[in-house]
Symmetry: C2
Subunit: 254 residues, 2 copies
Amino acid sequence: MVISSTSTQLEDAQHSCPHNKTISCGNCRLGAICLPLALEDDDVVKLDEIVQRGRPLQKGEHLYRESDPFTSVYAVRSGAIKAYRLTGDGQEQVTGFYFPGEIIGMDGISKDKYASSAKALETSAVCEIPFNRLEELSTQLPTMQRHFFQLMSQEITTDQHLITLLSKNSAEERIASLLISISARNARRKLSKTSFRLPMSRTDIGNYLGLTVETVSRVMSRFNKQGLVDVESKEITLLDLDGLKDIANVKTDF
Amino acid sequence: MVISSTSTQLEDAQHSCPHNKTISCGNCRLGAICLPLALEDDDVVKLDEIVQRGRPLQKGEHLYRESDPFTSVYAVRSGAIKAYRLTGDGQEQVTGFYFPGEIIGMDGISKDKYASSAKALETSAVCEIPFNRLEELSTQLPTMQRHFFQLMSQEITTDQHLITLLSKNSAEERIASLLISISARNARRKLSKTSFRLPMSRTDIGNYLGLTVETVSRVMSRFNKQGLVDVESKEITLLDLDGLKDIANVKTDF
DNA sequence: CGCCTGGTTGAGAATCATCAACATCTGTGG
DNA sequence: CCACAGATGTTGATGATTCTCAACCAGGCG
């Protein structure tokens, strides 16, 4: 299935050839991220057949809500999505931010309903991958099966990184880590490693990192004063990436 | 493959029929936990054929180490295993405790090497499930494939629980949650909900919950004084489960 | 223009970490 | 079987990081 895109700004998906208005897994430039395993061409076509591309989500719209029946996982094509769950006493806990090329919704598999809600932080486009179709395809294509096992495993290790961050690191370390993580994910998409716009609010950042808004704000101001980062509300420029990595205690990337 | 067991104390695996010295997935009383999906009898036999049962691990022995090549996932049969990873600056971060019926090692799939180390907290027995065999089997048995997707998804939601705990909850809430979690997992195995022995040290608990040993010790003492829990070094009796749940902010179970 | 959300900054309070001393348990060897 | 050493756990005093409360500012949208 190759559908023609709407006229919205699907930044990533179309940069590869701005005049090409058809999107498919075969020509999506996120392929290398979304599908790190080299699928055979034929296999990509089969995947393409089950992927559904809907209209873009507006900022604030939900992709799905906690305890909705689980039907699909989603690949983010453009924009940014946050995943969050409600705690026992009704607070929100942000469990992840998802950028183009990343897959969201896999937490819904175990109980056949989503364990978290997913909400667009800005206008976003996603590819919907119905899970029962994906399961069928996986039994036919071992490569696809393996790929999904790997994606889920990846999600586990990402969560474990966050657990470590929350358990062991100070406010400054957590925030430096997040900035570096976003920078690295930008780099993967061939975007600037040092200059980007944060799609989420300070509140979301604090919520994700287990900090209050005030602490986030203070630390960002401090980084700004120290010349580590240029903070212009949501526009961020990393001025001293090594200095930040130093603070974040990162050996490699995160 | 049905092998005869060694003479070690495989508490759980053999209680179902203490005279039956053969262990297989078909007669293992943990089946309902380890394999929540009702596999057909034939399917269980096929699973059984790929499962390897080695000698028990002694306390302190490693099942695998971080960055070892990934080969297998493991079902805990008896005892208890802790998973941990090393932070950038060489500290230990405990990422999970695994009890009989639970599966460990799935974080190794994404990079073909384990993302954490697994160490026995006491004498433990495990069933080794070679992952490439499991992948093959999964392509043949959709039920098996689905089951493993679910197991991995389960691991993700468990991690997200921990993230929330670390991000939002006080020392008392974290410790109450852990006690309730262990209690619930005991109940699943038809063991006492209120009385058990903690297989891990206070240090491990603190490490897992993002607290220092001292804080763990103090909170446990406080719970003890308040009559919520009877703490006898590692022997724990939950005297007021509802009170604990109240502290832990749990609606249902955790 | 003014309201409302989101963000910043400050002062004081609280939780938990740190440092330190001591107690208890485990297991090993005499 | 006891004694001792090292590891593990407990308790106390002090201090630091982060939260809370509060005021204020900025920007976007009706």
